[in-house]
Amino acid sequence: MKRGNPLRQRLAALGLLGIPLLTYPLLSLPSGSWNGIPASFLYLFGVWTLLIVLAAGVAERRGK
């Protein structure tokens, strides 16, 4: 196994990005509501889904 596997590094970078985005204090930013749906609900699910989409893009980009 090569050192510095780019796939692992990219995914780990996503993880490091996700930690501050999904914890306080950033989590206290969304307030109010959008179309009747609370902003915090949208923010949490939005960021979470975005992380997963990005991870899928990174993980599936190159074939085996």
């Binding site: 196994m1 050192r3 596997n5 796939l7 692992r8 995914l11 780990a12 996503l14 993880g15 996700g18 930690i19 999904l22 914890t23 306080y24 204090p25 989590l27 206290s28 969304p30 307030s31 509501s33 179309n35 009747g36 749906i37 609370p38 915090s40 609900f41 949490l44 699910f45 979470w48 889904t49 992380l51 997963i52 989409v53 991870a55 899928a56 993980a59 599936e60 085996k64």
Partner: protein, 903 residues
């Protein structure tokens, strides 16, 4: 409609279906066509979502709002650090690890003590979690039966006990078909993936039903909730609980890899490392889907049952039932049953392996009856122990449920288990990334962390159930305020889970690091540390075999294998090993270090690394290697690798040098060929005038009668040819001098305008003879360059004589122009001759290339003038080239740079 019998039948049918899936998976695996794909692997990870998720998340959302999401965000983030997981898988495959206890024990020198300790922590920590599954199933059953008004069974017959018994039977069928625990349970994994899909569909169905069937969608639900003051609180994130939020993310992130069942599925059951790549995103996506409707369901339940008594943990059932959707409620019940079954099966299989290998085996092997001297086949007993362990664990879960079940909501129990397995984190991470971590450190850390967990989390939960006196929670142990179980040393303001997590991890990490730094590992520990931390460098075997030295006998090792694996399986493995080593019969194999290592690995798969080591040591007389010796061997291995890397670099350098040499050789040959060409061309060129001179001389010699006019004409030709010959030889010599760099150059200030004028004057007669007009455009003084005056004149004359040669008589015109800009002088000689094609414009500067058609025209020059001129101009830093089109005349241009202005 929902009679007890029907529900029972349906449940049995569903479990039967799961079993069929598992059998199918096993059959395919036996046939060598595994159905475990990346997607199945990713879905099987969803065994993480137990009935706690299925029922408990909604309950938690009714009190804590969105904070239930932390339990699913943590795993999402943890999985992104895919390097950690791959490393765990790689190590486990290389070391034939069967459980998390085995992993930790193996890392710290195959310690039976550590294996037992981890097993005890895991069992104590996870039993409440199993109880929770039983509770969830029994509660959901109760709701269904309540609704239909039927009683399930006579009151003395406890439905939960029946469920536990069913699950035990089921788990035994699933999990103990094979003895070798490293052999994967592919059927079980397939069944888990299947049940994961079922529970997701069931949950989505009820979510859609409540959100869109009972209410008008997300927006309406949220707006109605926002209107009610006590519900509006649930919609907002409470930043005063930010500490809890972070703690829960950490906790669940650790749980996703350290819960025994997760370790089993992610690491032990992994078929192919590349499957992890799919799981990294597919499993989190599953988590998102199963969580989208949790908050709407919680709000829907609170709104719908406002003012009535209700249990929020069963909203997913009571909401559809309140609308008479019994079929949906049944589906939800099956989903919940599915979630509980999956968890219980995998968890008890993982725990039973640990209990059997790491608690019972060491004790059993010490008993004389089963001891080393006996030769009985133990493989049947091993299976029996595992089955008994499964029953025992479920029984423990049932007892816990009976005793404490009502005291806690579902979520509380689950988090207690999470906090228990989080204690494995320091020893695991330290073991994988820190060679210095020692067994003493790991034991101290685990004991410390476990003790704090016990005191701050488990015992208080017992106290709440009324089993023990709650004094130590309320007043502190022995009345000491600083020892209050849930405000240790005055740390208050946290919820009990984060409070326990911070203190236990503090004690755990602190002790692990401190004791590790102050203890010295023994030889085996150091070797294992090396293998674990540097797994990528050590690969499969490497230096392993050399770390064992001693004497053993094949017979004894083989009988050991037969005792624990069963004769049939032992012989299969031996045959495979022999085949891999090129031997036809395993009896002929030497009892060398490699064979001992093979035997130990096989035993590890069956009874765990710690017990395997003890057993092998009992029949093989091992010379103990000192710590220093082990480190030397490992060092040596590292050095050998370094040398081989150096060699590789050297050989690459050699290859490069060889390539250079080959290229140089190629160039030399080319030069050699060019020299040969040159010589043959030169001889040819010299022969032409000589032939002509000789022919005319012979005519003069043989015919004295020749008249005077002819004689004069012939002599003129001879003189001309002789001159041409002389010129040719001079030029060849000149060329040779220039090319070899032996030409003598003088450099002085040269007025190029003057040079041009002089050259024109000296050739003036030639132009007039042919009737060619010679024009010029030359500044009166300058420009002055640093060059060799004679050589410059030579270039000028060459260009002018070429021009006069090629222009037609009478109408010919040649024009000389000298200009200068800031950097260089430009001299042009333009004629209106036949011109040159693009190709000719290039080749004309090659040696012995003549202008005009070489086949028909008489050669008009030597073919060396232009190459010489170009060499001269380039020597002074300039360029010589031609711009021309056929029929439009030619313009020869050369430039010479002006000397840099003095500063």
């Amino acid at each position: 409609m929902l009679s007890a019998g029907f529900i029972l039948l349906l449940s049995a049918a569903y479990l039967g279906l799961l079993f069929a899936v598992a059998r199918f998976g096993d059959a395919r695996a036996d046939a060598g066509r595994s159905i475990i794909t990346a997607n199945v692997y990713a879905l099987s990870l969803a065994v993480y979502c137990t009935s706690w998720t299925f029922f408990g998340s909604v309950g938690r959302a009714t009190s804590g709002g969105l904070s239930f999401l932390t339990i699913y965000i943590g795993p999402t983030l943890m999985l992104l650090f895919v390097g950690v997981i791959i490393k765990m898988i790689r190590i486990s495959k290389a070391q034939r690890i069967t459980s998390i206890a085995d992993f930790i024990a193996s890392r710290y020198g195959k310690s039976q003590l550590l294996a037992g300790l981890v097993t005890v922590i895991a069992v104590i920590g996870v039993v409440p979690y199993i109880a929770l599954q039983l509770k969830a199933v029994s509660a959901s059953l109760e709701v269904l039966l309540d609704h239909s008004g039927a009683s399930f069974m006579p009151p003395m017959f406890d439905s939960t006990f029946v469920i536990a018994a069913l699950l035990a039977v089921f788990t035994i069928l699933f999990g103990t078909r094979h003895l070798d625990a490293t052999e994967r349970h592919e059927g079980m994994v397939a069944a888990i993936a299947f049940e994961s899909v079922v529970k997701l569909l069931a949950f989505l169905a009820v979510g859609l039903f409540v959100t869109y069937g009972m209410f008008g969608g997300f927006t309406e639900l949220f707006q109605r909730a926002a209107a009610a003051p006590e519900l509006a609180r649930l919609l907002q994130l409470d930043s005063s609980r930010s500490g809890t939020w972070t703690a829960l993310i950490l906790l669940s992130g650790l749980a996703i890899i350290f819960l025994p069942r997760q370790f089993q599925i992610i690491v032990v059951e992994n078929v192919d490392e590349s499957h992890v790549r799919r799981a990294v995103w597919l499993f989190p996506l599953y988590l998102v889907l199963i969580n989208i409707f949790v908050l709407p369901l919680a709000l829907g339940g609170l709104l719908h049952f406002e003012g009535q008594s209700f249990n929020p943990d069963t909203f997913v059932l009571t909401l559809p039932l309140s609308r008479g959707a019994e079929a949906l409620a049944l589906l939800v019940f099956i989903g919940g049953l599915s979630a509980a079954t999956g968890m219980v099966i995998v968890e008890t299989i993982a725990l039973s392996t640990m209990v059997c290998n790491d608690l019972v085996m060491p004790w059993l092997l010490r008993l004389r009856r089963f001891g080393v001297s006996e030769r009985r086949d133990l493989s049947g007993i091993l299976l029996g122990i595992r089955r008994a362990a499964i029953v025992l664990i479920l029984l423990l879960g049932y007892i816990y449920f009976r005793a404490a079940g009502e005291a806690y909501a579902l979520v509380g129990i689950g988090l207690i288990s999470f906090a228990a397995v989080a204690q494995f984190a320091p020893a695991m991470f330290g073991g994988m990334y820190w060679k210095q971590g020692t067994r003493a450190g790991a034991v101290a850390g685990l004991l410390g962390g476990f003790a704090v967990w016990l005191y701050t989390l488990l015992l208080p939960s017992f106290a709440r159930s009324g089993w023990i006196d709650p004094g130590f929670v309320e007043q502190g142990l022995w009345g000491i305020g600083a020892l209050k179980a849930q405000a240790l040393f005055g740390l208050s303001g946290l919820d009990e889970i984060s409070h326990s997590l911070w203190w236990s991890l503090f004690a755990n990490i602190g002790l692990y690091v401190l004791v590790s730094l102050n203890s010295r590992p023994d030889a085996l520990e150091a070797a294992q540390a090396e293998r674990f931390v540097d797994i990528y460098r050590h690969g499969e075997q490497g230096s392993d075999a050399r770390l064992w030295r001693g004497t053993a006998s094949v017979d004894e090792l083989v009988s050991l294998l037969e005792r624990f694996l069963g004769p049939l399986r032992a012989r299969q493995q031996l045959a495979a090993f022999a085949a891999a080593h090129g031997a036809t019969d395993w009896k002929a194999l030497p009892a060398d270090a490699e064979f001992v290592r093979f035997a130990e690995a096989q035993l590890s798969g069956a009874i765990g690394s710690a017990s395997a080591r003890v057993m092998v040591a009992s029949v093989a007389r091992e010379e103990s290697l000192g710590l220093d010796e082990v480190l030397d061997i490992l060092d040596e291995a590292t050095q050998v690798r370094a040398y081989s890397r150096e060699l590789e670099i050297k050989s690459r350098e050699l290859e490069a040098a060889t390539a250079d040499l080959r290229a140089a050789n190629e160039r030399l040959r080319e030069l050699d060929r060019m020299k040969d060409d040159f010589i043959s061309t030169v001889t040819h060129e010299l022969r032409t005038p000589l032939t002509s001179i000789r022919a005319f001389s012979e005519m003069l010699h043989e015919d004295p009668e020749l008249d005077l006019a002819d004689r004069t004409r012939f002599l003129g030709i001879i003189v001309n040819e002789a001159e041409r010959l002389t010129r040719l030889i001079n030029q060849i010599l000149d060329m040779a001098k220039l090319e070899s760099g032996r030409a003598e150059w003088t450099a002085a200030d040269v007025d190029l305008g003057e040079v041009a004028r002089e050259a024109m004057a000296s050739l003036g007669q030639l132009f007039r003879d042919k009737g060619v007009a010679l024009e010029s455009e030359i500044p009166e003084y300058g420009p002055v360059v640093l060059a060799d005056r004679d050589r410059m004149t030579q270039v000028m004359i060459n260009l002018l004589s070429n021009a006069v040669k090629f222009v037609p008589g009478a109408t010919g015109r040649v024009k000389v122009r000298v200009t200068a800009d800031a950097r260089q002088v430009r001299v042009e000689v333009e004629d209106n001759g036949p011109g040159l094609s693009a190709e000719e414009s290039l080749v004309i500067f090659e040696k012995f290339r003549q202008g005009g058609n070489a086949m028909t025209d008489k050669p008009q020059g030597t073919g060396l003038g232009l190459p010489i001129s170009r060499q001269i101009v380039e020597y002074f830093g300039g360029n010589l080239w031609v711009e021309s089109r056929p029929g439009a005349g030619a313009k020869f241009i050369f430039t010479v740079p002006l000397p840099a202005p003095e500063k």
